[in-house]
């Protein structure tokens, strides 16, 4: 029996010729990631280990991004803990405020994630790097500690679901609409413990930023990882961002899948997830009566340059609705700079939006856009759980940057076609 793309990557990392779904393996890690929320817990755990520091100072990435620039004294202490650990262990890829970005936008941009890698991160959206053909998955702080110390992690080899993406998506259909549609179809535990493998002729029409968004939200379907094959677009992206050598893995023709779905991209409509689960999807035309108080465009899901370009294209020469608060957060310093050079910042500010330095802040109800009692927000982030962005009586609607920008202008949830 053949192996899926994920199984082949895991077999290589475990030093085995062949693995099967359900098998427990010990895999060598190419990168271990942590942020300012999860790393302090991992560092405390590592202190309890009988170890001589980290396994490889070049294969650890520490990115303070959730509550930075420090939102309060306690956050400052967490960041100080991570900073001191990075200094003591001479961690090559520690990114200070001013260099940092939202981790899952930053690491591919810095060339730290390449095809065939096995990556763990103490952040659930670590699955993002499947977009470049890596196996990457979220873990907790203790797994991060063990990974930093030993360079290894145990995995149960996952079975897989195949998503065959066909046709060319319409103008305003992005990676976000595709993944929300899929989550709506299979549910928030539809891919529990399993790989989501994306294939098909439709992939050629998806930019790398679309693919990052899709892989990023595999966790919102319960998936262990969400992975794309490596094609010309991936190779062009890697050429621009990394000097690291890599190995490309492909699924065997006779690989076994638990389930197979076909998604006709040309038939998709802009999609919105209603409160309080990402699986509560509706097409945008059904949401026209919903008036929102705030729009957020950013996050590890949708804070990349293409997201900014789409928002700028829609906001150019227009103004957001009276009473609307629109918060735009380019995900990395480099994206921020490009927004400035291309004039997007001017467009955003003239439209009445605020633009922030990179942070995860509002997505998880940390700071920079907390919602009050009964307030509604249309957000390009990834979760709309109860209380996720603030008060337990607030409501979050998830959508693409295009729908977000159009909604900021109109005040109710619409597609850019309605402007």
């Amino acid at each position: 029996m053949g192996m899926t793309m994920t199984q082949k990557i895991l077999a290589r990392a475990a030093g085995l010729d062949h693995v099967v779904a359900g098998q427990l393996i010990m895999a060598k890690l190419d990168l271990v990631l942590g942020n300012d929320i999860t790393s302090p817990v991992a560092i405390k755990e590592m202190d309890k280990m009988k170890t001589e520091g980290v396994f490889n100072k070049d294969k650890i990435a520490l990115v303070p991004d959730h509550f930075v620039p420090n939102k309060d004294i306690k956050s400052a202490e967490h960041c100080r803990c991570v900073r001191n650990f990075a200094k003591k262990n001479e961690i090559t890829n520690y990114f200070e405020v001013g260099e940092m970005g939202i981790e899952h936008a930053l690491l591919p941009e810095k060339g730290l994630t390449v095809p065939g890698d096995v990556i763990i991160g103490a952040d659930s959206h670590t699955c993002t790097y499947g977009a470049v053909g890596a196996f990457s998955t979220g873990v907790g702080s203790t797994d991060m500690a063990a990974g930093m110390a030993t360079g290894e992690a145990w995995f149960k080899v996952p079975s897989a679901i195949k998503f065959n993406l066909t046709g060319k998506p319409a103008k305003w259909i992005s990676g976000k609409d595709i993944i929300l549609h899929i989550i709506g179809m299979i549910g928030v535990d539809g891919a529990l413990y399993r790989s989501m493998e994306f294939v098909g002729d439709g992939i050629q029409y998806l930019s790398m930023d679309d693919r990052f968004t899709i892989s990023n939200m595999a966790i919102e379907a319960g998936g262990k990882n969400g992975i794309f094959p490596v094609d010309d677009k991936t190779i062009a992206y890697l050429k621009e961002h990394t000097k690291r050598e890599y190995t490309v893995f492909e699924a065997d023709a006779d690989a076994e899948y638990d389930e197979e779905y076909t998604i006709e991209l040309d038939k998709l409509q802009p999609t919105v997830s209603y409160p309080h689960l990402p699986e509560n999807t509706h097409v945008v035309s059904e949401a026209a009566d919903i008036k929102v108080d705030q729009v957020v465009i950013g996050s590890c899901t949708n804070g990349r340059i293409e997201d900014m370009r789409i928002a700028a294209e829609i906001l150019e020469g227009r103004h957001i609705a009276k009473g609307m608060r629109c918060i735009i957060i380019p995900a990395t310093q480099s994206i921020y700079l490009e927004c400035m050079e291309k004039g997007y910042l001017k467009t955003f500010i003239q439209a009445g939006c605020v633009v922030s330095t990179p942070t995860c802040g509002p997505c998880l109800g940390g700071y920079m856009g907390i919602l009050g009692d009964g307030e509604k927000c249309l957000s390009t982030t990834n979760r709309n759980f109860v209380g996720r962005m603030g008060h337990i009586n607030s409501e979050i609607y998830l959508a693409s940057p295009a729908v977000a920008a159009a909604t900021a202008i109109k005040g109710n949830i619409v597609s850019p076609d309605a402007l």
Binding site: P40, K50, H66, S124, T126, G138, S141, R388
Partner: protein, 163 residues
């Protein structure tokens, strides 16, 4: 090893944002996290929970964020065991890694009611509802995970292997 306590019952998709809201993640102190455990889904939980009590939930318990603060908060609140129909995978790993016993048992998750007095025998995976007299067999852990649980977490397990 056995646990016994009264049951707090929840439904599907209890996410880590309601187990421990991110507004408290500027702390990593288990006691402080425990004070806000389940706050956004059950504000009385922290006032009513007693040492040894048990959480029973339906499917996909612990979905969402990878925050280990979630099982840490549950454990520090005094909960001796979580039983669910299914667990989200990162929560599952985290619980085992920090030594919070969790059991997958769809039948128990369906039948056990809030307030029932339940006993769990971790050695054989038998869950007994002392209020109704019903008993259930949980899925056994693979031997490798049993070793981590026996060592009371991943860090001890690795230390023991090194020694």
């Amino acid at each position: 090893m056995k646990a016994q306590g009264s049951v707090f019952k929840y439904g599907d998709n209890v996410d880590t944002d309601v187990i421990i809201p991110a507004r408290y993640l500027n702390s990593s102190d288990p006691k402080e996290l425990a004070q806000h455990c389940m706050e956004d889904i059950d504000k009385d939980f922290v006032n009513n929970v007693k040492q040894g009590d048990i959480i029973v939930a339906d499917k996909n318990f612990g979905c969402g964020s990878s925050r280990e603060h979630a099982p840490i908060a549950i454990k520090a609140a005094g909960v001796s065991c979580v039983i669910a129909e299914t667990f989200a995978r990162i929560f599952y790993r985290n619980s085992i890694n920090i030594g919070l016993p969790i059991l997958e048992c769809p039948e128990a998750a369906k039948a056990i009611k809030a307030g029932d007095e339940v006993e769990v025998d971790f050695d054989n995976g038998v869950i007994t509802d002392k209020t109704t007299g019903a008993s259930f067999q949980a899925q056994p852990f693979p031997p490798f995970m049993q070793e981590i649980i026996k060592a009371e977490g991943l860090i001890n397990y690795i230390n023991q292997k090194k020694a």
